[in-house]
Subunit: 390 residues, 2 copies
Amino acid sequence: VSITAPAGFSASGIACGIKASGAPDLALVVTSDGKPVPAAGVFTTNKAAAAPVQVSRAHLQETGGRASGVIINSGNANAATGAQGKRHAWGMAAAVAHELGIESKAILVCSTGLIGIPLQFEPIQSGIGELVGRLGSDIGNAQQAARAILTTDTRAKQSEFRDNGFIIGGMAKGAAMLEPSMATMLAVLTTDAVATSEMLHCALQEAVASSFNQLIIDGATSTNDTVLVFASGASGHKVDEASLVVGLKTVCTDLAYQMANDAEGGTKVARITVKGAMDSVEALAGARKVASSLLVKCSLNGQDPYWGRIVSELGSAGIDFDIDLVSVSYGGVRVCSEGSAAPHDAAKVQLHMSGHDIDIEADLGLGDGEASVLATDISHAYIDENVRTS
Amino acid sequence: VSITAPAGFSASGIACGIKASGAPDLALVVTSDGKPVPAAGVFTTNKAAAAPVQVSRAHLQETGGRASGVIINSGNANAATGAQGKRHAWGMAAAVAHELGIESKAILVCSTGLIGIPLQFEPIQSGIGELVGRLGSDIGNAQQAARAILTTDTRAKQSEFRDNGFIIGGMAKGAAMLEPSMATMLAVLTTDAVATSEMLHCALQEAVASSFNQLIIDGATSTNDTVLVFASGASGHKVDEASLVVGLKTVCTDLAYQMANDAEGGTKVARITVKGAMDSVEALAGARKVASSLLVKCSLNGQDPYWGRIVSELGSAGIDFDIDLVSVSYGGVRVCSEGSAAPHDAAKVQLHMSGHDIDIEADLGLGDGEASVLATDISHAYIDENVRTS
């Protein structure tokens, strides 16, 4: 279960000194021979995109979608850091490339941590030698990389998909409130399948749309959000796009759930499904509105099946809505029917609400549109985590 | 400072038994002679609009903008209550009208409280006699009405405007998180100015747009949001529309601030100003995005001038944005310039952050668009208030 499970990839992770705590903060994932392979990326739509995002985008464009790997630091987002931040992001790629004896443009860059604080380049520069020296393909190497990219996460997040012929591995970080998401979500995926850059790009977009994006990340993505995939081709298995999408989707969905499950101060993971909407776009808009509601998050934390807040959010989601047609269920038990309270087994609903995974389904009764999103609750711990950055 | 300050209005408030706590929960504001006067209302855009909203809208339409007053209950929103809820809302108006010997359509209705719980009509029916019996024009009567409309508010909210010739009085309730706002915001305004229904309607729309709406209420309004104004004409002063707008705006802005100041679990009121946007619509969209950010609310609670979150929210607000042109100030002290950290007097910023009223200004450096919104912080108390409804 790791990014080095697919043949052809090495990884490492070290503590170079960006984090004052001395926790691991620098990770590297590269092809084992350092040679560029087909690669693709999906990046934040935030107009305040961080320096590393700009550098990674530019490198992939320059190479036409080929890269050897990615260097990732945690502890500082290198975002809102001006021209110097760009030099530092470029410098991170150059330093790794120099150590590996390859071209700078073959290395992508990710950063995650606080915004607006100048990145100290010295610790990274000094750490590159050790980082490259520790590269390896064991599960332990991958584990070190997966740990070095974490910020407020409490657990490393790794996933794997095995098909008859190829493997996909993945690691990710991201642990803040899901919607609106302002904490960086990073994911690195590797596969030993044979695939073109173009195919990778299309498959990644599709997989992200129905996993990280659909389930988690708001339009309000952070300054640093990045999902990267590299295909070593080492399995010799020429994958077709449909199979690739299935595999990437599986890994991304698993990583997305792991993020929700590790949300800052979260005690619940709720799947919010809206069906019966005019179309799937409206269903998604409705589900997101519900998932991002502070009051709904409070209700989840309090294990309170207060469906009135669900209906109120849907009524103001800017989608077609007729309250007289709406029904709402918790854990499959209908609590609201035709827009009013429905008689139901309250003990059964309460039992469901006391669990960790909550299912909320609203049927708008209008059409065939359906969509789901994951949401987490909000607790004192979330506030405690976020009141002070220092 | 009350809704009975303008001549021609009476008010009362009682505890009729809707609230289990025995707190006041039924209020009435009517013209002192019971006769209909020019009136206007602005209602929620939520498609799950509550029964009382539907009845008030219909009555104003039927009468062409004339009404004698409004009955308001707290403790139950009478929202998502189906056909029976509509009968009850209509019944509230009918019962008051019967007691006053006037037509039902002259009485408007507001409700605030939990959604989706059938309203018990019996306590209201039984209380109408006492409610009407206690009508009076003293400040004490107005105070009773202002108290009877509260839910989780900790203080009654009243305001007054006096011009050379006419008076406007107002009361309001609303104490939940401001954006996204899902808690009902109600306001009742009275004036002794002479004005037509049409003028009242236009002036109210303009006043609400630049007070409650611009400063507080999201597109995500609750199922019950309502602002009403009645003009008795008792002063004999024929007001011009511009003066009326100024007066209504003053009262609405004051009441909006009082709501922010009484926000559930709030310890701060922040004015978030975005200037230098392409136009005022974009400025408002940016300010709202910042004001509704959970992370920004956490920072406010922690007195942390973490401008990175401001920049990140603006970058994902869907507005024109160039990080290299952005500056951010707290309390007039610039902490971010050209998108990067700016040297500043940290002690001065910290002193400002420790106060109750926080000023945050972001200049996008693009155009002349400017807008402000009020935001509150989030604290443990907010969660405690909202985890369980029962």
